[in-house]
Symmetry: C2
Subunit: 239 residues, 2 copies
């Protein structure tokens, strides 16, 4: 049985401050559990319903009731298992040479960041560089919407002006509304794809670093595409 | 001021049964209002905050308070204006000749249907045929996530087996996990793109109607792409 303090402690991990202080985050559901358990992530604790434990009896988990899972889960529909996992570093030096890299300028919506991570995993993009104001990777909505792909893609946070200033030898493709038709851009061997904020697009400060502005041609009337959707379509053409 | 009965009546339109009986639906926010007001849709009633009315003083709207908008809105963050709109028919004969048509087999998630409508509008696809079990167009989550694009795309609901049986002369491209690389498929002048359910894919009953199975090639490890994302990427290659 979970103590009141344990419940409070797990619930507190929905706050960024608490995640930062403890260096932990929450992941839920059998699919994410499966991905995390075979990854390099260190699992601190597993809470699971009897049915999950029965199917995974080689894994050490604390058995809880459905009522207890409802108390600690951050999902609308709790799903068998909740893991408390150690964060890995989001500060490393990406290898840009011979690589395709995605750079995100202030993506705010957790679902969008999670979807972009899943897309990068699908298209074999192995690293994402986020501006410091991009939504936090360990936000549980981000983690859940990656569908587990965060274990396969390296993600770091940086001051993007400093980053672009120190990496002027790599071609930067910027996703904008009035650039070259992406169908006419050759697949690059190495490049950076820069994606802007959902509402404001790419910051003015970063525009001078773009070598080629690219666009998904519009044939109908819709005003825009969602940032994650645009990323997916561009990756499909460029990778 | 809104009467209790009026509030109840508007709230009741969040239920499909009530929408069917009245033939009405709800749309919210200035962006959707703008699209609907210049479209063929007939607006039954507009409820708006004073700031919206000030900016649009040529339009006849009932002024309500923020508190009242909170009561009738179906959004987490109500946004200035709520419209009650007459549904248009979702039963018509699509023109397949010289057209690119999207057919949806039991898409369940309202956000996915809305996103697919927005994508079709972006890529100039003018008609979508939904299976009878696809989520209802006038569900307010669908309407909101189209970002207004539902006014530009014709959408009908049909028994898909009957539909395919009567239209055997049009090429059907089916989105599957083990088909031809979509990069190798020529842009068709006329075709149907068939998209399956989020979890189950394309129904077994419909597989025999597919002329060409197509796939978005995977280079990384992610297990799948979201149905709306896959539709967007395929449309970008095929239209």
């Amino acid at each position: 049985m979970l103590s009141k303090n344990e419940v409070k402690y797990i619930q507190s991990l929905c706050h960024k401050k608490q995640r930062n202080e403890t260096g932990l985050f929450i992941a839920e559901g059998p699919k994410l559990a499966e991905e995390i358990l075979v990854s390099n992530y260190i699992v601190e604790k597993i809470y699971a319903l009897p049915e999950w434990i029965k199917k995974n009896n080689n894994i050490n988990a604390a058995e809880i009731t459905e009522k207890e899972l409802n108390q600690i889960s951050q999902l609308q529909t709790p799903n068998e298992i909740l893991l408390i996992v150690k964060q890995s570093s989001v500060d490393f030096e990406p290898i840009l040479k011979n690589n395709f890299t995605v750079v995100l300028d202030d993506i705010q919506d957790p679902g969008n960041l999670g979807t972009i991570i899943r897309l990068c995993d699908w298209f074999g993009v192995q690293q994402i560089i986020c501006s410091n104001n991009t939504v936090e990777l360990y936000n549980s909505k981000v983690i859940q919407s990656t569908m587990g792909s965060f274990v396969n893609v390296k993600i770091c946070y940086k001051n993007l002006i400093d980053f672009f200033n120190s990496n002027k030898n790599i071609v930067v493709l910027g996703a904008v509304l009035n650039g070259i038709n992406v169908h006419e851009v050759a697949k690059p061997k190495e490049a950076i794809l820069l994606i802007g904020n959902e509402g404001k697009g790419i910051s003015n400060d970063l525009l001078p670093f773009i070598n080629k502005k690219i666009t998904i041609p519009k044939k109908g009337k819709a005003e825009s595409l969602n940032a994650a959707m645009a990323t997916g379509i561009l990756l499909s053409h460029l990778t």
